[in-house]
Symmetry: C2
């Protein structure tokens, strides 16, 4: 019954919650542009003060870049850390905005009410869902829902240069039992989702070198080795006809999807036709024995991201180049080790090329492994049920094809898992003009966190 | 015995022949640079006047660009047309020249005397070998060695824009029984050579299109079609493991080398190790069942001259591009038809790509076929014997891996074969600073033409 009271409080307080969000949105905390440095500090101060009003011992803490907001409050239960970021993307091109990006407003649209402003979705609106949930809880219970640390960054949109040093310097203070991150979205705009698997990434840029200089294809064509041919053969052999990567040992550390997740993903009934159709494609092009969701969430990839060699300008030059180049990246899953994968790729590639050629490698063998959360931790199932209740649709543990760096950092720097729950929609236009956050996402987002906290507390 | 008299006259007149060549070399007839337009006209006038002195009815004829020099003279026997070009390459970078490029001099070098100046080899020195042979002939015989047309171009180094129109407009006047062209070199600097096969060329630039825009490899990698992968597979399949082109019908119109030429080429004992070693390679990389000389002279090729797609700048962008591009060219031999080859390539390529992709072709299906001279014409064997006598080494019918456009134009526009005989050496540095022509090449070149004309007259 106490949860009901909190939810009722949230509903009743929504106009005030919107007022507070708008106040935060009015601060142009663009982290990439030094002209907005004071505004970033102001946003941090605003948040620290708001948190103090909720009983947190919160402050804006200096870094070489923009400040971090750190607050501690509550007691009992699992120690939860909540992460969000108060900085926003630049607003150019300004002329494409229908209104001042820092003069937020509630607008009626065909799809319902939206909060229109830079940062409304990414990430001020999302981070305030958590703070408002705490506020309602405090109002009803007189205390926070357990031991909480709030950790808000101001450099997420500018590469987070201060993040890892700050986490390292303050590791004991920041380390909690579980991190909560609110910077993701609903699955297909409707299904509440907890991201529990994020693919890792490693990269290889290299040059295939044959002749010591570019050759005239009349004088040498048909006799001299063409490094573009060598490179295309090499890259064509990266996958077999079934889409499987041919680098030896590539799949050694790839675990099969647990049956429970497979069932959840099947229930999502992912419309890959629409997903691909939106970008002019229709057919899944990955491993033939995998579902589209597996392809992007739980299977590793080898993709050529760039290739170049010879004459690429207007017209023709019948040259046999001395070199050809490629950039290849691998999305990693499970326990795949970036260093092991890159070493294996190098060895495989070097074995493919003919005697007269060599491969020059242009970078190291670093990368980031996948982040795979321990969903056996009951907190995950508890949160899933909480979200299911709020949204009226079975929430799912989903994957993310790309990396979300902060989740990896919590794992590698602080040794803790993260639960990524967010309420954005695909049409929020984050990073673009006319960013918005749906009012129902904000409202149900606050209610979602109240439900999650009720179960975790 | 009359040939001996001509050769003696050539030997005796060499100092004067050099004086004349130097006078021509002093005229900076750089055709690409409008600042030298008057100099080009002056070179044409100089040549027309020189030819008139030999009894030709010669004149400098205007074109929209630089003038053509056309002269007719002599009578009897086969009508021979001689082609050369009086324009020269630009001289930049001037600071790399040891002397003024238009202040010619005879220099002693470790390898013997050389004529140093821009154009000394390409092509003023070479064209003057023919004119000096005519001069000596006239001096001894009182007349030219048969019916001759001299045709000297002033735009060879700037793409010959006026050449084909001029040839078409004056086709009846220019059409002869055989063209002689002096703009090539000795084989491996020592063996006199008549180029009788020149490969043709056709080109295809195309784009493989998959998604309608660039995709994030985190969101789409493993699921969406990567057009770089499609392109590399397509191009990797262009040759089989033995170096044979896989486009259906590609070899249909390729004749085997006649036994006589095969024997001549074997006798050349081509040092492909050195040829490849000079550019940092060591192993022939073409069709495994062909000799290196066949690979560059008498076999067709498919070479990728350029490839590009995705992100090619510094650093990394984990993009799945929407498009990937390539430029492919085919060197053609025998009776291969450029249009047929390109159509076959297009059909083959389109059959390789998956359903979700398309190929956009960026150019037409034109090209130039190979030029293969009728060496059954006794003039060729006669010239070969003449050259053998002069140089003391068995002259050979050789091929040229690249096209020499003028030879093709004589065939396609005027319907006549060409005999390409030249005396350049690989170290002549044509198109580079410090161009030279070996004095012995000039001298023996004049004598060579006298011998050839004696046999053809």
């Amino acid at each position: 019954m106490t949860l009901d009271a909190v939810l009722a409080r949230i509903d009743a307080d929504l106009p005030q919650a919107l007022e507070r969000l708008m106040a935060l949105l009015r601060i142009p905390s663009i982290s990439t542009d030094p002209a907005y440095k004071a505004d970033c500090a102001r946003a941090a101060d605003w948040l620290a003060e708001d948190l103090r009003g909720l009983g947190f011992t919160a402050e804006s803490r200096p870094t070489p870049g923009h400040p971090m907001v750190v607050g501690h409050g509550g007691a009992g239960g699992r120690h939860l850390l909540f992460y969000g970021h108060y900085d926003v993307q630049p607003v150019d091109p300004l002329e494409l905005w229908a209104r001042d990006p820092f003069d937020p407003a509630i607008e009626e649209t065909a799809k319902g009410k939206v909060i229109r402003a830079r940062g409304s979705s990414d990430d001020k609106g999302q981070l305030m869902t958590f703070i408002e949930a705490c506020r309602a809880w405090k109002a009803v219970h007189g205390s926070l829902p357990g031991r909480l640390t709030i950790f808000l960054e101001g450099e997420e949109e500018s590469g987070s240069p201060s993040l890892i040093p700050f986490m390292r310097e303050n590791a004991d203070e920041l380390r909690a039992d579980l991190a909560l991150i609110c910077d993701t979205g609903l699955f297909e705009d409707a299904v509440p989702a907890i991201t529990t698997m994020l693919r890792g990434l490693c990269k290889a840029e290299f040059t295939v070198r044959a002749a010591s200089r570019d050759l005239h294809s009349g004088m040498y064509g048909g006799l001299a080795r063409n490094p573009i041919h060598v490179l295309t053969r090499l890259l064509a052999g990266l996958h077999d006809a079934n889409g499987h990567v041919q680098v030896p040992g590539f799949y050694d550390d790839v675990a099969e999807l647990p049956d429970e997740l497979r069932a959840q993903w099947q229930a999502l009934a992912f419309d890959h036709g629409k997903y691909l159709g939106d970008v002019g494609l229709s057919l899944p092009a990955g491993e033939v024995d995998r579902t589209p969701l597996e392809m992007i969430w739980s299977r590793p990839t080898a993709e050529v991201n760039g290739i170049w060699g010879g004459y690429t300008g207007a017209g023709f030059k019948t040259v046999l180049p001395g070199e050809a180049h490629a950039k290849v990246s691998f999305r990693l899953v499970s326990r795949q080790d970036p260093e092991k994968i890159l070493k294996s790729f190098r060895k495989w590639a070097e074995a493919q090329i003919p005697a007269d050629c060599e491969i020059l490698w242009h970078d190291g063998i670093e990368g980031s492994p996948a982040s795979v959360m321990e969903i056996g931790d009951p907190a995950f199932e508890a949160a899933r049920q909480a979200l299911t209740e709020e949204w009226g649709r079975a929430a799912a543990f989903v994957g993310s094809g790309g990396s979300i760096p902060i989740a990896g950092y919590f794992k590698t720097v602080l040794g803790m898992d993260a639960m990524l729950i967010g309420f954005g929609r695909d049409d929020d236009q984050i990073h673009s003009p006319n960013e918005k956050y749906d009012l129902d996402c904000f409202h149900k987002g606050i209610r979602s966190w109240a439900r999650v906290l009720a179960r975790l507390a």
